[in-house]
Amino acid sequence: MSTTKQAALICKEGQAPQLLGVSANGSVTGRLLAMALQQRYRNAGSTNVEIVYTFALPFGAVLMEVEVDLNGKALQGVVSAKAQARERYEAALSEGDSGVMLERHKDGSYTLEIGNLLAGETCSILVRYAQVLTTAHGQVRLMLPTTIAPRYGDAVRDAGLQPHQVSATDITAEYPFDITLALQGDLAHASVASPSHRTSYTHAPDALHIGLAQHGFLDRDFVLVISGLTNDSDGLLCADPYQDGQSAAMAFFSPRIPAHGNGALSAKVLVDCSGSMAGTSIEAARSALTGIIGGLQRDDRFTLSRFGSTVAHRNTGFWHGSAQAKASAQRWVDQLEADMGGTEMQDALTSTIALAGGVHSDILLVTDGDVHAIDAVIATTQQSGHRVFIVAIGTSPAESHLRRLAHATGGLCDFVAADEGVGPAVLRMFARLRSRRASQLRIDWPPQLQVRWQQPVQDFAFDDDAFDVSAWCATPAPTGEPMTAKLWGRVQGLDQEVLLAEAALTPLTPSTCATPATPTSDIPARITAWAQCSALRGTPAEHSTKEARSAATALAVHYKLVTPDTNFVLIHVRPDADKPAEMPELRKVAHMLAAGWGGTAAKVAPRADIPPSSGKRSTRPRSVSISASASARPTRRPRAAVASTPAALPTRIDRSDPLQWCAAESSPDGYTGVTPAGLAAWLLRNAEQFHPRRYADLRALGLGLAVCEWLEFEVGAHYAAIRVVKTFLQFIRAMDLTAQTTFSFAHDSASDPLTQEIGMALRGTSSRQWPVALVRFPALEDVV
């Protein structure tokens, strides 16, 4: 319906940038990260402006404070209910006063508005947040998003944003970014590396200091990978400064699920081949899939699908992890390109769920997650009972969307940055897919704490994948005695409840947090309040009651938390002489394009490494919601073997003749290609010099994919290609096929093994149909 032409990213006219840069400064103690982000703004124009900036914080980050500095003067704001905050802000602007407002959206992004910043003024916003870092397989991944990549879909309709909150991208935008981090505790002695930025490390006696070794920009997530950690369960207790007689407990559980050998997995692989994946992302996807295929075992079952604006399935029934199936799968992976247009994830998932008769299975999704309509996707998948495991790729993947999708279905999300090796992520994925399921989790808090409310616990656990739980305790302050919280659960195949983890709870007192850089002692209480607000509000799919919503709002205001129901607002009254006469002009801060998005280079590649691309294959982004237009990749057709001076050209097979060509609709097994009779007739009609010599020639002639792959991967595993093809064609020419007869072959010890093998396999060939086993290759007869 949309009549927009496929416009490109528009270079803005040379307006001076309103955002001068962002600096981040954080420290990690235990598993608690406290980060301060400073955004600096300036109005370099001659009129009063309203600066609007939509940005993302990491998934699980809880906003603690917003500090505003206007022209060097510190100002105080408050957190209040959304509607009141908006009213105050709008009234201030129409009075000619200035205002600052920060609101949070459902999808975890925030919009900052600075209204009536007068000509020449500067403003600096300091956003403090706290985040629990989760450990997975001995590794902690610290991520800070610095930009929002263009997303497929309509932001207003699909993501529920208002037009002023929709982020725009400008390829000429350039904002400096800087970060410093201090790691304390066991992290200071672990192995630390950043796959996204060149970093410098300084060792101090009690901490490891990290900074950038090269100028950074707001064009890719900052990722720090800390590995080699011993994965122990842990916990914190602290008094609640906002409520007398209450304290907060947080447990970080690292479940240990008893192993039982390598279970077989059942996975439907779905790869995002939309335009945004072009370039480094689709290469990383291919590496990840190559690793996945390599890790498949004989008893594993899998299907392969790719999607963009449409979805294409390689196989509709499961294949087993046989050598032939893996070879066929690898061939499919090698041909993956980011050429399927937009990102219609909901339709793709629905179609993938329905594969193999809708049998319960896991879905392994490889994507960058750049869609708006994620809530619809989550709702669809939750109903199906399929767990979604995600390998998230790209310099700025949609972290919040993908973690929510994985979590809602009982799966997990793993991230691979642009230059990171995919191997470790793939191994972790396999470990999760193969492990026994743990469910019906239950937490035993120490009775002395008198826990009165506990965060709803996820109903699944994976070995060595930590998660955290918060609770309110009706005791005023933690006492000195040691306490542990225990995680119990039921494991598939075991009758008794199993103790999965034990977390020792350590009291956190003001004295243990000396400097402003270390986490303040009210963080656990505020994180617990945040968890309670989220539980009251429910997921986007559930409809929370009005009472629950007002309780959530009241709680958020009390604990000064910015939630989807509450905004941070600050009003600065101007003296009458300074009040502007007109309403401010809009200055929306455009994002830098995520490095590597849609084929733009993430880094300079030496010429030799660039794979030869046939034809132009980068994307054409489209105005606000950027997506690539659909394309049909020209099928690669290697030239048929022809002599240098052909006397006559080879004839083509008549595809409209059902005797010669089997079309997809008329074939019960989905075989599309030349029939045995058609191939025999063609061979008779054309000179020997035109006959196919290699597998690719057979494919070009029109022999169906399954039969070609049978020849190449099954028969051709032990014999030279030319011999295999020649023997095969000899059989076809010698077959005397009529409408009634089928080919029969008797085992003859006199002829060579290759002839035996092909002859036996071709038994039952009729004039119009190949043998069933060949047509279904590489599936085995007993699969669904």
């Binding site: 416009a7 270079c11 001076a16 064009d219 309403m583 300079v604 980068s618 994307t619 919601s625």
Partner: protein, 147 residues
């Protein structure tokens, strides 16, 4: 209604058009809706503004982007269907629109350009276009990278 239709305040217009106040103000800021008579507290909106808002609502509900809605509102010809593509493959390229009718096509991998170089190149091309066509320098960009 207390006021005659020619003199609605912003809040009254929001109620009539059934839009949030910020969205309405956004439309005025981005030029989709005409500016009111008067400014700030004294701003008044009339039937013309309401009409524009209702048209915007109708077209965005039908799936048009705001850019297209802006064209339609301000007198553009109705949409002409795109020239049908040639049968066969459609190429997908990375385009940069420097100005109306001036496009730059880049495949950075083939050209061997880093993101910084692409940005510098884009800026240079735009500056060149401005110089060549004699259009005024648009405010100039702050030269230094660091604040």
């Amino acid at each position: 209604m207390d006021h005659p239709p020619q003199a609605l305040t912003l809040n009254e217009l929001c109620v009539l058009a059934d839009l949030p106040v910020r969205t309405l103000r956004y439309y005025v800021q981005s030029g989709l809706v005409d500016r009111p008579d008067g400014e700030t507290r004294a701003a008044r909106y009339g039937a013309r503004h309401l009409e524009q808002l209702l048209l915007i609502k109708k077209w965005t509900a039908a799936g048009l982007s705001l850019e297209r809605v802006r064209d339609l509102l301000h007198g553009d010809a109705p949409a002409v269907p795109d020239r049908p593509r040639q049968a066969g493959s459609i190429e997908v390229c990375s385009h940069l629109c420097v100005a109306d009718g001036v496009e730059m096509v880049i495949e950075p991998a083939r050209a061997g350009l880093s993101p910084e170089q692409v940005r510098a190149f884009a800026k240079g091309v735009m500056a060149l276009y401005a110089a060549v066509t004699g259009t005024s320098d648009h405010g100039g960009r702050a030269g230094s990278r660091y604040s």
